[in-house]
């Protein structure tokens, strides 16, 4: 029953976010600030993780090819498919749920604890629009980050495959081009837009409606990470069934 009530409050929160907008010049500066914090500030970790994940996928695939009849271009093919379909959009989103999600929950939660949200409301500001809307808009740039993650992941696979002696560069690149279905990239971008919305709103919900003090801010951040990850994983299954099934 508690879960149903939470889903109801989350839906009401999302509806309120789009009501009574903040003045555009102020909103513009808030959006730019959030792009800097949420997207630009996360590029380092996204690039780092993607590079090594791509490398590991290439090595794992190579080590599991024991039959000489299986072509070596499978390493490039498997790396491309794994990175584009799952690792770039889903795995990166789980990492972002931890990094960006906990930042969002703790920053909004601290504002709740220190009455800054009440101050906004008393002034007649729609605090949900002021705090959450810029985050949602900033996260619409998330697919660009995912595109970079795809590129770096495949590059990591190529480095590991070629310089690790598992595959020749030509075989790897041939594998990358083998049976390429452009819709897979579209599918990945559709997923990343949905995940971006989840990463912006679920942690905001946990921060905005939290009660208590500093300890509860920490607890809310952890809960937000868990629920954001759960929602991402469930939506990943549903979207895959709908778009590829």
């Amino acid at each position: 029953m508690n879960y149903v009530s939470s889903i109801g409050s989350y839906t009401i929160m999302v509806r309120e976010v789009f009501k009574k907008p903040t003045k555009w010049p102020i909103m513009k500066s808030l959006i730019l600030k959030e792009i800097d914090e949420l997207i630009y500030g996360s590029m380092g970790i996204i690039i780092f993780i993607s590079f090594f994940i791509g490398g590991v996928v290439a090595i794992q695939t190579a080590l599991n090819i024991s039959n000489p009849l299986i072509p070596r271009n499978l390493i490039g093919f498997a790396t491309r498919q794994s990175v584009i379909l799952e690792f770039a959009p889903t795995f990166t989103s789980i990492i972002m749920a931890g990094k960006v999600g906990s930042y969002i929950t703790s920053s909004i939660g601290t504002m709740r604890v220190t009455e800054q949200i009440d101050a906004l409301e008393v002034m007649g500001v729609n605090s949900l629009n002021y705090l959450v809307f810029p985050k949602i808009i900033a996260m619409f740039l998330y697919p660009f980050a995912i595109a970079i993650a795809m590129y770096v992941g495949i590059f990591g696979g190529w480095i590991a495959g070629v310089f690790g002696g598992f595959s020749s560069s030509a075989d790897f690149i041939e594998g990358l081009q083998l049976d390429f279905i452009p819709f897979h990239v579209t599918y990945s971008f559709i997923k990343s837009v949905v995940f971006a919305f989840v990463i912006a709103t679920v942690p905001s919900y946990h921060g905005y409606y939290m009660k208590g003090g500093a300890l509860e801010v920490g607890k809310a951040s952890t809960t937000a990470f868990v629920w954001t990850s759960v929602v991402i994983i469930i939506l990943n299954y549903i979207l895959t069934q709908l778009l590829l099934g």
Binding site: K20, V122, V125
Partner: protein, 255 residues
Amino acid sequence: MIEVNNIHKSFGDAHVLKGISTIFEKGKTNLIIGSSGSGKTVFIKCLLGLLIPEQGTISFDGRIYSELEPSERRNLRQEMGMVFQGSALFDSMTVEGNVMFPLDMFTKQPKSEMLDRVNFVLNRVNLSDANDKYPAEISGGMQKRVAIARAIVMNPKYLFCDEPNSGLDPKTAIIIDNLIQEITQEYDITTVINSHDMNSVMEIGEKIIFLKDGLKEWEGSNKEIFKTDNAAVTNFVYSSELFKKVRQMYIEERN
């Protein structure tokens, strides 16, 4: 003037406000006092519109809050200023940014005019050289002054203060109390202060409401509070030996 008529507020089974009626007059510092859990904070949140009472009305110069359209409520909110217990300054903004925030949000004034107004109110609260500092870089007393400056920058008709001098040393607390009283009289504002502080009661309590268990137990001024025989009020106000002696001296002097 704010007229409160028979307001009730509950949270689940807890009936926190049990039918409070009173009038907060314009140009006066109105104090709400009472022990912890008496319903003071819930009462002030109802006045601010942050909580909606289940029963009763709150009228701001004839405008009944519960009967207003959302746009009228927003306009009314812009006539209110609030000083929160912990100041509630925006951490990410400088002192100047905090005070300018309401102007930036709700007016179309040029930046130079806004800056003039910000400097004017900061001077009014005797804080003229802290524009570029962040809330974390200034003292608690200075944060309270910034909060007062932010609350009055839009020329509010109604000023609400929740424990404005909590956490301050006695001297700074008196300075803040006097500042609020001066501003109330100077701008003819209806000021409502939620307080525990007996110095505030004695110094600036032009009208005092004593709440007990969600009910209005007593109402009067700081002069009348010396004379009252209401046991609950005397137990609360004169709980310290010092105040008991002050009261005794006052009664003896009067006789």
